[in-house]
Every structure is written in C-alpha cells, then in structure tokens.
Amino acid sequence: MRVALFLTCVNDTLYPDTGRAVVKLLTRLGVEVDFPMAQTCCGQAHYNTGYRHEAEPLAVKFSDVFRDYEAIVTPSGSCGAMVRELYPRMGERARAEGRGDALAATLAPVVPKTYELTEFLVDVLGVTDVGAYYPHKVTYHPTCHGLRGLGLGDRPRRLLQAVKGLELAELPGAEECCGFGGTFALKNSDVSAAMGVDKVRNAESTGAEVLCAADNSCLMHIGGTMARLRVGMRPVHIAEILASTEEEPLA
C-alpha cells in the first residue's frame, strides 16, 4: 500500500521528529510512504480564525497535491478534522453563497481518504500491536479535535496499551480541553493559560514521566506550560512512542 504523508506545516517546521517517526513506523508495517513536496498547510488556522476565504485556496491546493493517493495519513487530529469535517462544509458554504459546486467537487476526493495516524493503523491496517517498545509510565491526553471532531475513541489507548514496557496512567479530566485552540491561545491568553495549568497539574498527579497526545499543537501548549511550571514531565507525540523499538529506542 502506498500512502501520502500529510505532515502539516507545524510538524514540518517545528516537529520533524514526529514526521520521521511516522515514516519509520509505517515503513516497518510494510506501508510505502511518500511525502509530496508541494504540500504546505491545510488552512485550519485561517478557517478557524474567520478567514474562510483565505483557507479556500489552501484547501484546493491540498486536494491538488493529495488527490491521487490511495490514502492520506496525518499525525494531527486537528488537521485531520479540518480535511474530513470542514472541507465538506466549505464546499456547502460556497454552494449556499451561489458559487456553484466547483469547490465541493474539487475537495470531495480527498475527504474520505484522509486518516489520522491512529485511525489509519487501527482501521485500515487493522493493527493495535505495532511492535513498539517504550519502557515508561505514560498518560494520554485525547485532544479535542481527535476526540470530538474525528471520533478517535479508544484507538490511541489501545495502541499504547499494546506497547511493550509501557505503563498507561489514566489522566484525570482527560476529555477537557488543554486550552490551546490555535489563535485562542493568543486572543484569550489568560483563560488559555489557566486551562493549560490545570491540564498539567492533572497530568502531574498521575505520576507519569510522559504526556502523550496525537497532535503536536496541543503538545506545544502543554509542553510549554510544563517547562514554565518546571514539571518533570515530557510531552511526546504518540507516533514517536509507536515508532520506538528495542533496537532503536526513542532517545
């Protein structure tokens, strides 16, 4: 199977390790991975901040870049939700504005083929034990767009539970938002920070060494808060844990 990696602009620029982990993991599972170099950004930040018209050309570009692949895999719940949930809505809105079906027709092909990483592993590849080894105590934060947008359910937890050596600690208040929310973190910084602190305190109470999630944007916010509070915990993307093996452990 040949799939396209949609890494997202944030991961590409700030978290290349996550991208390398996805490549390593999928290759190990027998998947041929391609990274179309023309990819950039899905338009989520533009759309969510109220710039739908700026997001549209990015969505069209996304479709141009990815439409011919069998499947598109992304290690980001929120960018996955952007494509799957909001691209169809952008098409509907364009139609309602009397601009015809062109946008909807352009975006339609990529919508059903786009998978968040854990979804792809469990639903498409049908694996929960990916042969990973990670001897640490980990707590899992289900990010909002993964949880409520894509409905990832317990897929990430099942994957983590199958990791050799990993001890999974339940996170109190797991389903509460960490307070990132893209531009929300800037526009409502006080509330965002207060939410972040509560998330970190809850994570701390589990005694875990690592907080894991399926979206680096949330991890950036949580990790930045951890660093500021000098909490002895690390944020790690789930792809990096799943890519870690006894031969090649995650540093």
């Binding site: 390398r20 531009t183 939410m195 972040g196």
Partner: protein, 494 residues
C-alpha cells in the same frame, strides 16, 4: 438589547480579572463539575438520547422555518383562550408595554418568575424607572437581586456565590426589600432556604400582578409552559390577578406532543433530573382560579434578524438548559459576567453578537471566547453546532459581509483592529501557496535558531508570558526527506 451591559470591556479583559479571582474560580469549578457529572449520568439513563436530541432539533427547525405561521396560530389560540397578545419589536417597546400594563392595574409592585427574556430586555430596571418594584422570587435570582449583582449563569444565576456570601447578603439586604433575615442566620442550606421562603411568602400573598417568561408556548392551544425546581414560579403564575408573560418568539412549539421531547431533554440537560419538580402549563384565563387577566408580550429583539442568517439561526433552537455552560472550560475560568450579557457561556457567545450585532467591543470579542473544543456541541440537547456558529461569526467580525439588522439587509464592514491579523493571514496564505517560500522561511528559522528568543515580541507576548516556545529544529522535515527520501538514501534516518 438592554443597555445594562453596554460599555463592557472586551471578553479577554473581563476574563483577566475573573481568572485571578480564586474564590470565584473555586465556586465555579465546584458547581460546574458537580452538575457536569450528574448530567452525564442522567443522560446515560435514557437509551434513546440521540433520537430525542435529533427530534428536538427537528421540531425546533421546523417551527423556525414556519415561524410566521405558528406565531399567527399562537396569537389566535391565546386570544381564543381569553388572553391578549402584544408584539414587541425590541427591548424598549417590550418594557413600555409591560410598564403600561402594570400601571393600568394601579399596582406598584410585581412578583416575577425567573425569566431570561425579561432580563434580556432589562425589565426590572425599566419598571424601577417607572416607580414599579419588581421582586424576583427564584431563590438564586433573589440572591442576585439582593446582592445588587448580575446573574452569571442561565440556570443558577448565583453560581458564582458560595453559602457564606449568600448568608451575608441575606443578613444585610433582606430588610430593605421586605421581611428581614431571621436573627442569627447561619450558612446551612436549610436555614438559608427558610429565610428566603419567609421573605418571599409575604410577597406572593400580597402581589396582584405576576410577571413571567416561558420555557415553551404551545401554538395549537396558546398554552404557557413554565418548568422550574422550586415552585415559586407556579405561585407567581397562579396567585396574582394579572399575569404578564414576556416570551421570545422562538419559544413556540407547534403541539402538545412536541413537549414530550423537551420535557425529557430539558431537565436532564439542565439540572440532571429525570423530570422537573414543577411543570406548570397555563392556558388563557378562567373565572374560577388563577389570574383573570393574561397578557402575552411576544418579543423579537433581534430574533428575526438572527433567523435570516443561514448558519447562525440554529442558535434560536436553544432551550436555555445551560448544559453548554456547565461543560465549557472557558466559562469555568472566566465566569458568567465576562460575557457581558444575560446569556453567558457558549450559547451567549453566539447569541449575543447575533441579537445585538457585532459592533461593540464586547460583542466583537465574544466569537473568540472559545477554544473550539466542541464540548458544548456534544452536550447540547438540540444539537446546536456552537463551534460552527462561532467560526461563522468570527468571519463576520474580520471580513464583514451581508447581514440583516432591524429587518433590513445591510453590508457590514470588518470590525476595527483586525487589519494586522488580516494582513498576516493573507501573507501566510500566500506563503503556503508557494512551498518554496515556506521552505526559505523554515531554513532561515533553522539557521538563526540559536538566536531566536524563547519569548515573543508583539502580539505573541501573551503566549510566551505563560508558556515556553518550542526550539526550532536544526532541519525541517522536508529537507530531511529530500536529503534521505525517508531515511533510505544514506541519511541517518534517526
């Protein structure tokens, strides 16, 4: 809407204070988490919740689509049952109508059932200006009124107060409004409730005029439906000689059968009860019992403008259960007052800027008072996609566009203060349209990474004031990919 909250600072400024108030945050956290857990249990008991939710959504959408027809039908049935219908286009008109109706009775005191519509129009203040005193009879509303405070929650207006604060308010304020608090009042719930009961009983027995809102109005019979927990509302709609009800035009349900759905979903969503302790239905007037005069004031106040908006109109499905407030992490930290309206929380963030327009500072900031986490949508018993409407209203704020105000189509200009953001969004869209530009930017960042600060200047300062920024990596992914083709061509593939 009422002028009560005009001049409010934008949401972030109002929230700034609330986030620092430890008592407030403690009160809110305790209250919302308790009710949240109870609601989840009450909802889980119902095997067909999803179907009920969908039915509620459909009934409301159908009614809104044919609102003109149902409003006429409602007027006919209320009139046939002996009531009088008045139409109010805005808050001023509604207040004027109610004040005239009260004055016509010769009374200068009224008792009130807790009602969002009358708070929305600032009725108490308007009556006060006419020399008419309105007594709130809902316990929490009484606390707010005595405390010269504002409600901060739809269902539990005094949610921001703890028992000790309530005792202090009763002790110092009750005498001024009627029967004083009993000597040596403590902060036990039973004693507080008894003090309120004695105080209110006097009012109920004396009042000749009652004012209410309604949770629903049944079009086929002209029936007013009030659901509540304390029974004080029932006293208000049955004891006085004259009943005046101020009801938003979106409160209609076509038939009695439709109530079946909402009388299941509303209590479970709001108080986590299987059924409301008091459900009062009242149709017109009779000679034997209850008020012999009934006036229904149907309130628009921005609702038909809201109805004209294809995306935003779903806010009118709201049955004011407040479940969205109780799960909202932003509401929990910012408190209800920060929303600058009687409608706080997620529903307030989408309703106020539609009813009032997005011109004021507070209204332009409300669509951003959310991290779009989606918890509100998940719990909403009429499936209002609050995040969708928030994003839609953000678009209105930053880009302007066609809206309906006062029944007229107008084209809004973008709100002030977004020029820099708009430029940044355009620039980044342009850069993302050209992968080469993105790459150059990434490389520049990588090369200068050792000199990049961990805190940001300008608008980013708010972020880095409380969080550390990640370090820019030495090599962006796409460079690694190109160098190694995914680790195959000689790269270290780490």
């Amino acid at each position: 809407m009422s002028g009560t909250y005009l001049g409010m600072p934008a949401f972030p400024a109002a929230a700034h204070e609330a986030v620092r108030d430890r008592t407030l945050r403690g009160n809110l956290r305790h209250a919302t988490h308790t009710i949240r857990a109870k609601r989840a249990k009450a909802v889980a008991e119902v095997s067909d919740w999803a179907a009920l939710r969908e039915a509620g959504r459909q009934i409301k959408d159908h009614t809104l689509r044919h609102l003109d027809r149902y409003l006429v039908q409602l007027e006919e049935s209320v009139t046939a049952a002996g009531g009088v219908v008045h139409w109010a286009a805005d808050a001023d008109e509604a207040n004027r109508i109610v004040a005239e109706l009260v004055r016509a009775t010769g009374e200068s005191e009224v008792v009130k059932v807790k009602s969002m519509a009358t708070q929305e129009i600032g009725l108490n203040e308007a009556l006060e200006a006419e020399g008419i005193r309105a007594y709130e009879t809902d316990l929490a509303e009484l606390i707010v009124q005595l405390g010269k405070d504002r409600p901060s929650h739809i269902l539990v207006p005094a949610i921001h107060r703890n028992r000790g604060e309530i005792r202090d308010i009763f002790r110092s304020e009750m005498a001024e409004w009627g029967r004083p608090a009993p000597e040596g009042l403590t902060d036990t719930p039973a004693e507080l409730a008894e003090a309120a009961r004695l105080h209110l009983r006097e009012k109920f027995l004396r009042a000749k005029v009652g004012i209410s809102g309604a949770n629903f109005m049944v079009a086929e019979t002209g029936t007013l439906v009030v659901v509540e927990s304390e029974g004080n509302g029932r006293m208000c709609v049955t004891l006085p000689e004259t009943l005046i009800s101020v009801v938003g035009i979106e409160k209609i349900v076509p038939t009695w059968r439709d109530l079946e759905v909402f009388l299941q979903t509303l209590p479970r969503s709001s108080t986590a009860e299987r059924m409301n302790p008091y459900t009062s239905t009242w149709t017109g007037t009779t000679d034997e019992d209850g008020p012999n005069t009934f006036h229904l004031v149907l309130l628009d106040n921005g609702r038909t403008d809201t109805l004209a908006d294809q995306v935003g109109r779903q806010a009118l499905r709201c049955i004011r259960c407040s479940a969205c407030l109780n799960v909202c992490p932003v509401y929990e930290r910012a408190g209800g007052h920060a929303y600058g309206s009687v409608y706080p929380g997620p529903i307030g963030a989408i309703l106020s800027p539609q009813l009032r327009g997005t011109q004021s500072e507070i209204d332009a900031s409300l669509p951003y008072a959310s991290s779009l986490c989606g918890a509100c949508y998940e719990v909403c018993p009429v499936a209002i996609d609050i995040p969708e409407v928030l994003v839609h209203l953000r678009e209105r704020v930053v880009q302007g566009g066609p809206v309906t105000r006062g029944g007229n189509k107008v084209v809004l200009r973008p709100a002030k203060g977004h020029a820099a953001e708009r430029a940044a969004m355009r620039a980044s869209r342009w850069a993302f349209g050209h992968p080469g530009v993105l790459r150059t930017g990434q490389r520049l960042a990588s090369r200068s990474r050792r000199f990049l600060p961990r805190t940001l200047p300008g608008p980013g300062r708010a972020w880095s004031a409380s969080r550390d920024l990640p370090q820019v990596p030495a090599e962006p992914f796409r460079d690694w990919w190109q160098r190694t083709r995914g680790g195959k061509d000689g790269g270290d593939g780490k």
